[in-house]
Symmetry: C2
Subunit: 216 residues, 2 copies
């Protein structure tokens, strides 16, 4: 039996691959692990059956035999630890790749999500225009630091790793913001991630769910 993940029955991102099943699908594709998907509705996510799998009532979850996991970062790490290809073998390099996984979700993502939330929920508020540059500048600080680290390197620390996977997944939230254009090395890095065959397979798989839901 392959593992089963959950994903939105009808993703609010309209198939742009920004929901959190995307990095899990991508990781599973990178290591060649087939998986099943169970789609959940917004109302089902807050019911006891799903909350038993995910205490915060979100997607994705990951079930494999006796194991039930939540949190996309933790699921990607779990997959990376059990297959070759997403973490270096050498112990120090492996710890550094995991540091980038945490950096993606704890340092890079929060200001990006804060900006996205303001654009989604506060666009009609009288303070929106005045707050926007502050939120954009918080993202720019991180992009500038990331750009300085990356330079012309292909990936964050040697070969492609789960750290790159989560970092690219997080940065893709900025694809329509215009901010990535200000940091060409970062934009090229994101494009490099999106060009990977495993990324494209994962992207097509999540897009197919959205297309089926919206035409079905």
């Amino acid at each position: 039996m392959p593992p089963t993940i959950t994903a939105f029955e009808n993703s609010p991102d309209r198939g742009r691959g920004l929901a959190r099943d995307m990095p899990v699908r991508w990781a599973l594709e990178e290591v060649g692990q087939p998986y099943d998907v169970r789609l959940v509705s917004f109302s089902a996510m807050k019911q006891p059956a799903h909350l038993a799998l995910h205490p915060f009532g979100q997607i994705p979850t990951y079930e494999d035999g006796d194991l039930a996991l939540f949190e996309s970062g933790a699921i990607v790490l779990h997959v990376a630890e059990r297959h070759d290809g997403l973490l270096p073998v050498e112990a120090n390099a492996r710890s550094r790749a995991i540091a980038w996984m945490f950096a993606a979700l704890s340092t890079l993502e929060p200001p990006i999500v804060e900006l996205a939330m303001a654009m989604l929920f506060e666009r009609d508020k009288p303070w929106y225009e005045e707050r926007l540059p502050m939120l954009q500048d918080r993202v720019r600080v991180r992009l500038g630091e990331l750009s300085a680290h990356l330079g012309k390197a292909d990936w964050l620390d040697g070969a492609f790793s789960a750290g790159d996977l989560l970092t690219v997944a997080v940065l893709r939230r900025l694809n329509t913001s215009g901010l990535l254009d200000e940091y060409p090395d970062v934009a090229a890095y994101v494009a490099r991630g999106e060009a990977r065959l495993a990324f494209r397979r994962a992207f097509e798989a999540q897009l197919a769910v959205f297309t089926a839901a919206s035409t079905g």
Copy 2:
């Protein structure tokens, strides 16, 4: 040689143990690993020597022989993987404890930091009072879900783990907000974490740095 971590020379939290060296100190105390501390100033954090250790110019870093790490969550996981006491031995329970580590930093912390940032930087803005309930409600959603999961249990999933350590460390940011009082099970959980001997040792150590800086 014990590992060396970095911490603020003069912590902006005035010794309340909210800087990110605190969870790393706590983890090292839990496993009984002595450590050295190198204090860094705000200006030194943005200089090349520190940026070589931490691409985002923050604290803490962790140096142990050839290894240099950044990101508090990654450092805590690194310590937990190399010592007994912070991760279950059984594989599935170990993966679930790591899921709680990611949940603490990726799901619980962002709305808490967003609220704290608004209180710090936007208190004098005309929109502050109107936005505050929205920010508080985002935190309440997570506290309610956490409370429903915890119930009367001592810890999140069996014995105390690195998942509890990071969750308590994140929730302590709410200690002066009044919000924890609305969720007595969560408040009791935080108090249980703060009562651990390893927490108290770590707290005293970071407080001593602040006290020395402010009286020295």
